[in-house]
Symmetry: C2
Subunit: 191 residues, 2 copies
């Protein structure tokens, strides 16, 4: 998606450890007009007539997923982060490893809001190692729901999360795949 790539090149910052910071428009300050354009791009890539629920993960995916769901006329649900010792009943849960916080995180989702009858599109702002999305896929599987696809705004292609989904045959699309990010700048993977 050209508009998104241009914003990344113009406003993104590469920090030590190949961290790509895009918090001016995607995951701290939110450019809502850009989120709507991203929503329209996902709408071209996925058959939304087959989707009845948008699923994302707390916290940075929520803004994007909410604006997408609003534009599609669909409900949205987000998996919450929980401490492992604070699990109530009636929940799906998945264990993921957070590279940001360097610890295990439990994602929880109420069984009330995801059932075997749902057709789910997972959307998230960022994919690096892909742990958050792996956990979301597990929640969908636990529910016995259908995973229609996974859409990501920015993928860090060199960290493997996106390629693992591609290799698994998931209907996966990322709108901007960063192949390299270092002191020399950002290079995208060819479409």
């Amino acid at each position: 998606m050209q508009e998104l790539k241009e914003r990344i090149l113009k406003e993104g910052k590469v920090l030590p450890g190949n961290i790509v910071k895009v918090d001016g428009f995607l995951n701290h300050r939110i450019d809502c007009k850009l989120m709507a354009d991203i929503a329209d791009e996902f709408a071209k890539l996925f058959d939304l007539s087959k989707v009845d629920l948008i699923l994302t993960a707390e916290a940075s995916g929520i803004a994007l997923a909410a604006i997408c769901a609003y534009r599609y006329g669909l409900p949205m649900v987000f998996a919450k982060k929980a401490k492992s010792d604070n699990i109530e009943g009636g929940l799906y849960q998945s264990e993921i490893y957070s590279y940001t916080y360097k610890k295990k995180v439990t994602q929880i989702l109420s069984k009330e809001w995801l059932t075997k009858d749902n057709h789910v599109l997972i959307l998230d702002d960022f994919m690096a190692n892909g742990e958050a999305v792996r956990g979301l896929c597990e929640l969908v599987e636990q529910a016995g729901a259908e995973l229609v696809g996974v859409g990501i705004a920015i993928e860090k292609g060199f960290q493997g999360g996106g390629d693992r989904l591609r290799n698994m045959g998931v209907n996966y699309h990322a709108l901007a795949v960063i192949e390299k990010a270092d002191e020399n700048g950002i290079i995208f993977r060819e479409d």
Copy 2:
């Protein structure tokens, strides 16, 4: 707001400890159409021509604030929860007490995305003791920005957070104020 009150009465659950659970449409599963109606209601109560930034708190306020900001054509920024020992430079920060997690939480916001030139409308899904909003007001003050107002979807009137803001003279509006929530049901404060 009649539509919101009806949804609370129809789908809300009162749990022990006067907890009002509305996670089917507001803060776990999100009814995006209702969020848009709430956005329109806030637009009647606040002079949006004076607002250039929507501010909310991670995590449950993000979906509502994002859809509001999108409809108003404004950017949105959300304060992040941080561990006190993980504070970087260039940040505003406020200490609040989380009654949900029964511990102190530090809210952080990058100085890049809130400055003295901003005119801020704080929006959040829920107000109980008002700690999250108190922390957000502090961030606005630290930036030297102007606080145009505070809008809340559901206020638990009996927990004092909303009345404290009213008494301080803040331009504050809540769309549904719950006066009482117990085993006998939910009663709203008269408008």
